[in-house]
């Protein structure tokens, strides 16, 4: 079972992101369960949503306390919420930012992490550019697809088409496609660097 926890703020489409991730996984014939952490759904308040993906029926209903991957939709949460709580060692960390992990003050925390698991996507910028609104959830999902290979970009696009009306879907697909490429390049850069170190 692969478990993803998404952190963000009310209004950033955190819950929708988890739901879309589950739809994308379903499209690939897998079992998936998405659910929000319930309650504090006020604009700007910290929100958490969860998604489990597995090859058999998922019976477990507890919140995800030991995620394999974290998607952080708002980097200002890093200093407000214990977003890294329970994250598996070497798990994927995907942050919506145009800064680096070091600039975000995370260098110590991720010292032993594999480079290709540490990813940043300027998702708000991409969303503004393509959708015209700061809605980072879809670009991050596409970035997660590129980083993890757990779901394909085509499945993310199917999920976008399920969730949004035609025009909004089209714009989100453009944002997703650029984010996917961005992360693909980021990983290529990281492995290139590692090769250079070796």
């Amino acid at each position: 079972m692969f478990q993803v926890r998404i952190h963000g703020r009310g209004g950033q489409g955190v819950v929708t992101a988890a739901e879309m991730l589950s739809i994308a996984a379903f499209e690939e014939g897998r079992h998936a369960q998405a659910f929000p952490s319930f309650g504090s759904e006020r604009t700007g308040a910290p929100v958490v949503a969860f998604c489990r993906i597995a090859d058999q029926e998922i019976r477990l209903r507890e919140p995800i306390m030991e995620p394999d991957a974290l998607i952080i939709q708002d980097p200002t949460l890093l200093f407000q919420v214990d977003v890294f709580s329970g994250l598996k060692k070497g798990g994927y960390i995907l942050i919506n930012t145009s800064r680096s992990f070091t600039d975000l003050g995370l260098a110590d925390f991720v010292r032993d992490w594999p480079e290709e698991r540490l990813l940043t996507v300027p998702a708000t910028d991409l969303s503004r550019k393509h959708v015209g609104r700061p809605m980072p959830n879809v670009p991050l999902l596409a970035g997660f697809a590129a980083a993890s290979g757990i779901i394909r970009l085509e499945s993310v696009i199917k999920a976008i088409n399920t969730k949004f009306s035609e025009k909004i879907a089209r714009n989100n697909i453009a944002a997703a496609t650029e984010a996917y490429q961005f992360v693909t390049d980021e990983i290529a850069g990281a492995s290139h660097q590692e090769a250079a170190h070796a």
């Binding site: 996984a25 998405a34 659910f35 209903r61």
Partner: protein, 417 residues
């Protein structure tokens, strides 16, 4: 057709396939998505020959449901928490009059303190209302139970509550198999009411009954629930032949045959318990789970049969009968009467408190060691409780308890679970 969708949406689709004629509801979390979905389906014409009535309160919702059902219309509504309390008087009338209304209860705690999260105290507050109460374990079962509920309600002329865990199921996206209209039509025939208000054939419904016949009319309600006890397994079998799935029924046993320890529970927590049971089985413990699907009528014989060879029984319930302990436990104990079993009541998951595998492992291990109390509150923060008790012991004007205890707990925004 297989779909990845929200539990509320799956239920709305199921209700739509049952060809409802009147839907009336007042919005309250976490039920709202269901009737919103149905409202859209009626407006778009996806559901035809159906009147969607916006009402001004839950009391009105159940009153409209009573009126429409009394005219012979297939009637649906949904509510939760304070909503069910507000409609309570009409809830008793619906069953007393023998009207087969189907109502979803998206289970949520009851205030005060106000709390929008999940537990079972709302539905269980109506356990003696005369309604049949079915509890869903998954979104698939929630969907299926609505189709079963209309058939059951109309065959015995009693209303049915389909209870599904608020948020945990209603707001969860998971895979569901949505049946076809043909399948649902093959299972659920058009409603043939036993009584109907009809100007061309006038009757009155709702007589005042004095001591001369009140007991007899009330006994009839009990007799009908006993008929439902017989009927529920038969309907589950019919359902399986048409839809190819096990859904509904009275109880669901999981690894209970040779179990020394049996956990009894209702609703979506059964899934997490099964995962814990699998792990404990691998470690050699003889442990199993009994899920109660039909809480009213309560299947005393089935529960007794499932438990009689065990050594100990742990009833894990999302409800609290203040002043005694368990609600479900009381009924399970009745089913066990005369059996030499250790019985434990565990109150868990109140007001949305997460029930984790870790806590369940520790709990069941404690039960197996013979160290579990008769009544336990899972993961209770004793520091917070004792601090408040101390405050009340030492200060007359100790102030509002909930506010003080929240201050003692501190900031919760940073919490994950």
């Amino acid at each position: 057709m297989l779909k990845q969708t929200e539990g509320s949406h799956a239920v709305a689709e199921a209700v739509g396939l049952c060809r409802p004629e009147v839907i009336c509801a007042y919005p309250i979390s976490p039920q709202t998505h269901i009737v919103e979905g149905l409202g859209e389906m009626v407006k778009s014409g996806e559901v035809t020959d159906c009147e969607f009535i916006n009402v001004e309160s839950e009391f009105a919702a159940m009153s409209v449901a009573i009126g429409s059902s009394a005219t012979g219309a297939r009637t649906y509504t949904a509510t939760a928490s304070q909503g069910i309390l507000f409609m309570c008087e009409a809830v008793y009338n619906a069953s007393g009059l023998g009207l087969p209304i189907v109502m979803t209860v998206a289970n949520r705690a009851i205030g005060a303190p106000i709390n929008i999260w999940n537990d079972h105290t709302d539905a269980l507050s109506q356990r003696d209302s005369g309604w049949i109460q079915l509890f869903a374990e998954t979104n698939q079962e929630a969907l299926d139970l609505h189709i079963l509920a209309f058939k059951l309600a109309e065959e015995v002329s009693l209303p049915v509550m389909v209870c599904m865990d608020g948020f945990i199921l209603t707001h969860a996206y998971e895979r569901v198999d949505v049946p076809t209209q043909e399948q649902v039509d093959a299972f659920l025939p058009p409603y043939e009411p036993r009584q109907a208000l009809d100007p061309t054939d006038p009757v009155s419904i709702g007589a005042m009954v004095g001591p001369e016949a009140f007991s007899e009319v009330r006994y009839l309600a009990h007799a009908k629930q006993m008929q439902a006890l017989e009927l529920i397994p038969k309907l589950a079998a019919q359902f399986k032949t048409i839809f190819g799935r096990d859904s509904g029924g009275l109880t669901h046993s999981y690894l209970t045959d040779d179990a020394e320890t049996i956990v009894v529970a209702m609703g979506s927590i059964l899934g997490t318990i099964k995962d814990v049971v699998d792990e404990m089985r691998q470690a050699g413990e003889k442990i199993g789970v009994l899920g109660i699907s039909s809480y009213r009528p309560f299947p005393l014989d089935n529960v007794r049969a499932a438990l009689q060879n065990a050594k100990r029984v742990v009833v894990l319930e999302k409800s609290l009968a203040v002043g005694i302990g368990g609600v479900v436990s009381t009924d399970v104990r009745m089913a066990m009467s005369g059996l030499q079993l250790e019985g434990h009541t565990v109150v868990a998951g109140l007001g949305g408190r997460a029930i984790t595998m870790k806590s369940l492992h520790a709990l069941f291990a404690k039960a197996i060691r013979g160290e579990l109390e008769r009544l336990t509150f899972l993961d209770l923060d004793w520091d917070v409780v004792n601090k408040q008790l101390e405050r009340e012991r030492t200060t007359r004007r100790s102030g509002p308890a909930a506010e003080s205890m929240l201050r003692d707990v501190g900031v919760v925004a940073a919490r994950i679970g």
